[in-house]
Symmetry: C2
Subunit: 321 residues, 2 copies
């Protein structure tokens, strides 16, 4: 059986899976990224995980290659550079180092660009030539497709939209020190920060007055909204407002047919999507109105990022065969 290894290197979890040509992740596993501060040990852990996954198949496997999605990855250099959500600082020559341990065709890309490829090959952007995939996890990522091709940029670092300056109020800092940066507001982390902000601004009673920041999870905020918690509702509205403005601005850039949203924040469902649609349409220029869809990822929720990473390799096979 022909399979591709998909790896998603996230700030919290590293996910590894084996993906077939239809974009189905047949086996997967994950471990906590932060437990492996030594890059060498970390890469060994990935190889070990792959071997465990492979051993679950009785038949002979033909591994066509390995695709990796990671924050701040340069597709052109095979490196990860100054990723604020990762433990390894500076420029990490990950493809070179990992290639020594795993001798298969390998490709790395910004996680959001990988998500975009995944949606184009296997998900809700099939057949689209102009769309933007947005990942709302620990951080904010964007994978831009124009004229049917990923926009990688001169040096492979296009789509770092989490760090554009939204100049909101006095401006939160992102992990890269950008004041007013989008990802400080619109991401799973941003939503948690907004819960604190709303409790500082308003005196509404809320379940979150009894929960410490470190114990706060996205699912709790969704659950609180369902129960009518005013702080949770205000936080979703505020987040959706900023995201709506950002997507309206991005539309003016490349006029996508759709935004495909993925990542933890998307699991908040209508609490984020309903106000998002309202604000997006409010901010959108007249010339774009009614022409830009906001979609959820079309891939299986738990393995979306793995399938996106695997798409980096499957893309070449779909073109060749």
């Amino acid at each position: 059986m022909e399979l591709v290894i998909g790896i998603d290197i996230g700030g919290t979890k590293t996910k590894v899976g084996l993906v077939n040509k239809d974009g189905h992740c047949l086996e997967s596993a994950f471990f906590r990224t932060r437990e492996y501060p030594d890059l060498d040990v970390y890469l060994d852990k990935i190889v070990e995980t792959i071997n465990v996954l492979k051993s679950k198949f009785p038949e002979q496997l033909n591994i066509l290659g390995c695709g990796i999605g990671a924050p701040n990855a340069s597709s052109k250099h095979g490196t990860i550079v100054n990723a604020s959500n990762l433990i390894w600082k500076g420029t990490v020559p990950i493809l070179e180092k990992f290639g020594q341990k795993l001798p298969v065709p390998m490709r790395i890309m910004n996680d959001a660009s990988a998500a975009a490829l995944g949606e184009m090959l296997f998900g809700n952007a099939k057949g689209m030539k102009d769309f933007i995939a947005i990942t709302l996890g620990t951080g904010f990522g964007a994978g831009i497709v124009a004229n049917g091709k990923l926009v990688e940029g001169y040096d492979g670092f296009a789509g770092e939209l989490g760090h554009i300056d939204m100049t909101i109020g006095d401006g939160r800092l992102t992990g890269l020190g950008v004041r007013g940066g989008l990802e400080a507001y619109v991401s799973a982390t941003g939503l948690k920060r907004t819960i604190l902000f709303m409790m500082s601004k308003y005196m509404d009673d809320s379940i979150f007055r009894g929960i410490a920041y470190n114990d706060l999870h996205g699912e709790d905020i969704t659950k609180a909204a369902e129960e009518g918690d005013p702080i949770a509702l205000k936080a979703f509205d505020f987040t959706a407002d900023i995201l709506g403005l950002a997507l309206a601005n991005f539309t003016a850039f490349s006029q996508p047919e759709a935004f495909v949203l993925t990542g933890g924040l998307v699991n908040s469902g209508k609490w984020i999507f309903e106000p998002l649609n309202k604000y997006f349409n409010h901010y959108l220029l007249e010339v774009y109105k009614g022409k830009v869809k906001i979609l959820r990822s079309g891939l299986a929720p738990k393995t979306t990022a793995i399938c996106g990473a695997a798409a980096l390799i499957w893309e070449n096979y779909q073109l060749e065969h």
Copy 2:
């Protein structure tokens, strides 16, 4: 001799010229757009202008086609839609109407996208695959090239960056009613508005206290800066600050190798470029530093827009032959 007609439809002037394969505009003329509120009469005036230009050549001309650059033009529909700086409102089916008067191959595009093609074929972006052309005239336009191709968007309206919300202070309105929109600050018009704003904010003496808004021209502001006028200097600094932030944000989108600036504001030379470089480098993410050039147009100043428009047709010939 093989020539292409290049037409630039601007808010103030309509420029018409005949351009050879090297991007040289051999003959050109202009007239004031606002004097022709009737579209039919306007198009006749263009045809008349073309005929005058053609009559200046003694030899037989082979006109290969006609390229048109215009604000808010859709390349995919051949229309101009709700252009705030033009007299004709709503959707103008310009290619269809003009084609009836001038039976040659015809193509229309957003003026800034045309400028980008012009720079790629004939100007300072030769050989670049990822760059952004910025036009700073009556309005603010952007022509984005990624992977060697123009980003036109799903519907042909990509690059309307003059109307992205920069949420600056209480926010000026653009011609499309966008509060805090970029073009309300960064354009020839924006600079004039900033002169008024600076005189309202500061009590510095200035030559502009004796000049009415309607009598104010970009060249006067450059001249005043050269003479040390504090209001002019503050206005350039303020404009460059916002443009620097915008270009830093755009870099995060498509990571261009260069921005190529064109249009009236560029003629202010060091008064705009020196503070622009300072602010741009201040706002730019570390990962992009030292990798993004800010260039001036490489085309002849008076006929830049005509050559850009002509590039819409020459592009096809350079690919074919």
